[in-house]
Symmetry: C3
Subunit: 143 residues, 3 copies
Amino acid sequence: MKQALAAITVVAGLAGFGATAPALAAGETAMTHIVMQVSDGDPAKWQLALNNAQNVQEALGKDKVTIEIVAYGPGLGMLKSESKVAAGVNGALDNNVKVVACGTTMKKMHLTEADLIGGVSVVPGGVVEIMTRQSQGWSYVRP
Amino acid sequence: MKQALAAITVVAGLAGFGATAPALAAGETAMTHIVMQVSDGDPAKWQLALNNAQNVQEALGKDKVTIEIVAYGPGLGMLKSESKVAAGVNGALDNNVKVVACGTTMKKMHLTEADLIGGVSVVPGGVVEIMTRQSQGWSYVRP
Amino acid sequence: MKQALAAITVVAGLAGFGATAPALAAGETAMTHIVMQVSDGDPAKWQLALNNAQNVQEALGKDKVTIEIVAYGPGLGMLKSESKVAAGVNGALDNNVKVVACGTTMKKMHLTEADLIGGVSVVPGGVVEIMTRQSQGWSYVRP
């Protein structure tokens, strides 16, 4: 327990350098928290990311792991209402996977939240979101 | 040396949060340990991962760096007996690169260990393996 | 401030394990420092990496974030004088993005620094450079 507390202190200290990094919540580690990047315009990659999320939840326990999928650039197509994997995205949202869209990409593509699958969150920037999660100690996987 | 011991303690503390993360071995850092992800079904990417492993061993010293290649999803084709890069995979194994296949992908593709290149290990899940390595402080590269 | 100092000490301790890892500079975190990998031979990916760098600078402040783009393997084409994104690379360099080429790839492709866009730096190995940055606590993104 003493080691765990030490870890929280230290990583919180690291995150403290970044102006925009929120404070580390207790228990956020690379084993319990993972951010997945989707930046390819390829529906097979979108499906792979969804499969990865599901498999990680099945392996570690749905309530023991926090998963966030960040889509940006050509990957944003994954989250549009008419996406080929819309059913899979809805399934991920139902399973408490957080799914976020890059606001910078949306602006460039002239999209608003109404163009996205319901339940998808918007962050100002996809890469900054990924940096924030890594600064909090999350694992990073790009399927 | 005092700093090094402090680092072990702290990262071991972090890993301790995750239910499935094994204890950190002394000396496991992002400079001495690297996990490489192969999840594309593209033989050129498979060859690039093998080249990367060889170059890292040549640069840092074969006995000074631990390399693990994790293949999953469409990347699993890299490790099948009839793989186009089978000779390269065997060369990597001969050079003490650990090469692991995702068991979840194998089940989906109806493959058993007998279908893989000899010497390849099987882990329950490829992404969980990558999370585990990152939680242990390893570098992550997706060639 | 006490926490920040603790973080520096600990991460410096980690980096100390690696024979080749330079000492951590104060304030290098996953929120203020990011290494971006370019290893695909696809000009759209090159442009995406350049866009990512620009968006991160705009979001976090150009003088508050350190960005390094590492090109290796088929990604090295991005940095050749005749690159389709040469103008964008020059723009990134003008904005203090560090852009580095993998020396191992250059040797294989029989290229010298004279074949690259002016201002691009050469490192011995691209993957080792990425490992070094991760060991220093930088974020990693592969666009």
